[in-house]
């Protein structure tokens, strides 16, 4: 996986991890306005990053923003356990 693709993938992982954290926090604090605002902002960021990634490198989800192609990108791009994530 190219450096730029990996960088973008890691950025998506990071934003989505913050979303998981805020999601769990909001489950038990559903009226916390600051957490909800942060969640909504990060949600927009995640969508924009995913669109950018999928247009360049193929789908993250089966129904995606990736441009149509044959063979279908979903079966062509690597699975997460097959990716070399480089040096930390």
């Amino acid at each position: 996986m190219h450096e730029e693709q990996l960088r973008l993938l890691k950025e998506i992982m990071a934003v989505d991890f913050s979303l998981v954290e805020l999601n769990l926090f909001l489950d038990t604090h559903p009226c916390d306005q600051r957490a909800l605002m942060d969640f909504n902002n990060l949600c927009c960021q995640s969508k924009a990053l995913r669109r950018q990634y999928e247009q360049c490198y193929g789908p993250l989800m089966a129904c995606s923003d990736a441009p149509p192609r044959i063979p279908w990108g979903w079966v062509e791009t690597p699975w997460p356990w097959q990716i070399d994530y480089g040096r930390s």
């Binding site: 993938l9 890691k10 998506i12 992982m13 989505d16 991890f17 998981v20 954290e21 999601n23 769990l24 926090f25 489950d27 038990t28 604090h29 559903p30 789908p59 993250l60 989800m61 089966a62 979903w74 791009t77 699975w79 997460p80 356990w81 990716i83 070399d84 994530y85 480089g86 040096r87 930390s88």
Partner: protein, 190 residues
Amino acid sequence: MWVYEKKLQYPVRVREANPRLAKYIITQYGGPDGELAASLRYLSQRFHMPTRETVAILNDIGTEELAHLEIVGTLVYKLTKDASIEEIKESDFGAYYADHDKAVYPVSAAGVPFTAAYLQSKGDPVTDLQEDMAAEEKARSTYEWLINLSDDPDVTDVLRFLRQREIVHFQRFGEALDLVQEHMNSKHFY
């Protein structure tokens, strides 16, 4: 239902083939305090939670545990895929290899196959949430013992991430327990 995303929650790197370490780590795949047990426990218990918040937290932590199951599976896969038969024979991994080759199969470190007896779904939300808090602590301890056993800094890095998640989940289940107890007080259950 669930929708799959073609990404891990946390990037998994390993330095080199290490079947001995894989043999230990598989316990967090299919062992007594592993991610499969955690996921099934929370996703089964969620149906009988009495408040909206507590259904949500069990649903969402149960879902995150599936992502952790995938991370642990990835660790085992990457630690074994380039291991030679000689390395396998010299490590503790030989007994596992005899039954499963390098396939990922839910067993404990001692080779005991996964069983639903590792979890409970009791129908009493206070009882279930206390089990869940204990489960998070047991998983945290297991990750600490695995960190002590690890001789691969990249693997240790992943184990540290997973261990920290147990602490966050414990906090959320503690809050859920409080919400349930308050709900039951308001209903004069006690």
